[in-house]
Symmetry: C2
Subunit: 199 residues, 2 copies
């Protein structure tokens, strides 16, 4: 009979498996590490989790995670409220912000369509997006910045239809050859798009 040395340890290993991509072996390794070498880190993590659960909600305008009713980006009066860039996640939004090339607003879907996993338009932020498009400040152009994958394209398609029924202008990030790449190593689909959209 394998008596576990500690019920609390078992519970910690079980709870760590709620993290995506963490199975029983990594969970054990994490638990041993925290208990043996970093109890401080464990307590910090616990406090951060509680603070996040208690304090993080969705921005009333762009639907991203936010500590306030309206997130700092939406509350920034210097940003163009007529441009609305639709992204899948806060990480994608951060990638766009890093360019420094965009000064409009965002809408964060917090997901993408995954029909094979049963994730439809109602499971991501399509309904809040519709509300957002119908309330002031008015939007004149919706920029689709979802991923260039099958799922991202499907998501873009649904959002585009929605925006078009409201009579809004809809654009998509340009497809093309990435900066710094040698043509030899770029896939044919990308080159075909770059040819068609040459300027």
């Amino acid at each position: 009979m394998a008596t576990s040395p500690s019920r609390r340890l078992d519970q910690l290993i079980q709870a760590l498996q709620r993290l995506p991509g963490v199975g029983v072996r990594s969970a054990s390794r994490m638990a041993y590490h925290l208990l043996q070498h970093d109890r401080n880190g464990a307590e910090q993590l616990a406090q951060a989790l509680l603070a996040a659960c208690e304090g993080i909600r969705h921005c009333a305008l762009c639907h991203t995670f936010s500590d306030e009713e309206v997130c700092p980006t939406c509350a920034d009066p210097s940003r163009d409220a007529g441009l609305l860039c639709v992204v899948e996640s806060p990480a994608d939004q951060a990638a766009l912000e890093r360019t420094g090339a965009y000064r409009g607003r965002y809408f964060v879907l917090m997901g993408r369509l995954r029909p094979l996993d049963g994730i439809g338009p109602d499971d991501i932020g399509v309904r809040p997006l519709l509300e957002r498009l119908q309330t002031p400040p008015p939007v004149r152009e919706v920029i689709l910045a979802t991923s260039f994958t099958a799922e991202g394209e499907a998501t873009a398609h649904v959002v585009a239809r929605l925006a078009q029924t409201l009579g809004l202008k809809v654009t998509r990030l340009a497809r093309g050859v990435p900066v710094g790449s040698e043509l030899e190593y770029v896939d044919p689909g990308t080159i075909a798009h770059a040819l068609a959209d040459r300027r």
Copy 2:
């Protein structure tokens, strides 16, 4: 300027990186997942972390993680206190317990010698092991069950010397061909050991 949407989110992503093997990308993915789909799990994890930090200590006898002063295995009067099996981790102890073939006691080093990383005898449980060997109940045989790797062998060597200076009998788990394996695929070192130790 990339304004993060939430300071609490940043702190959570930072705290998750205290987990071994978790970088900024997995930490973000974990944080998004918990906040978006499993706030219950996040709270459970926080409680489990706090309970573990507060309640888990080292067993006074075998040094493994324990909720009590003495862990259930050491407290079990039916186990032979004269046999002391030295392992590296609670996971290794659990592997031995699963066999059902051992009814002695354990000592868990909570690590192994890693000279290249600066982990010496004082960083693992060699000192508590010495105390354990010098306090009753008396031990008549020390069974070395550290890993069969360079680091595990070095650890076994140090523990063996320690036990021998106290005049104790020291044995090592047998090296040999794993049950269920075909000779063709077994490495030469293992076959050489199996030949030398044939019975």
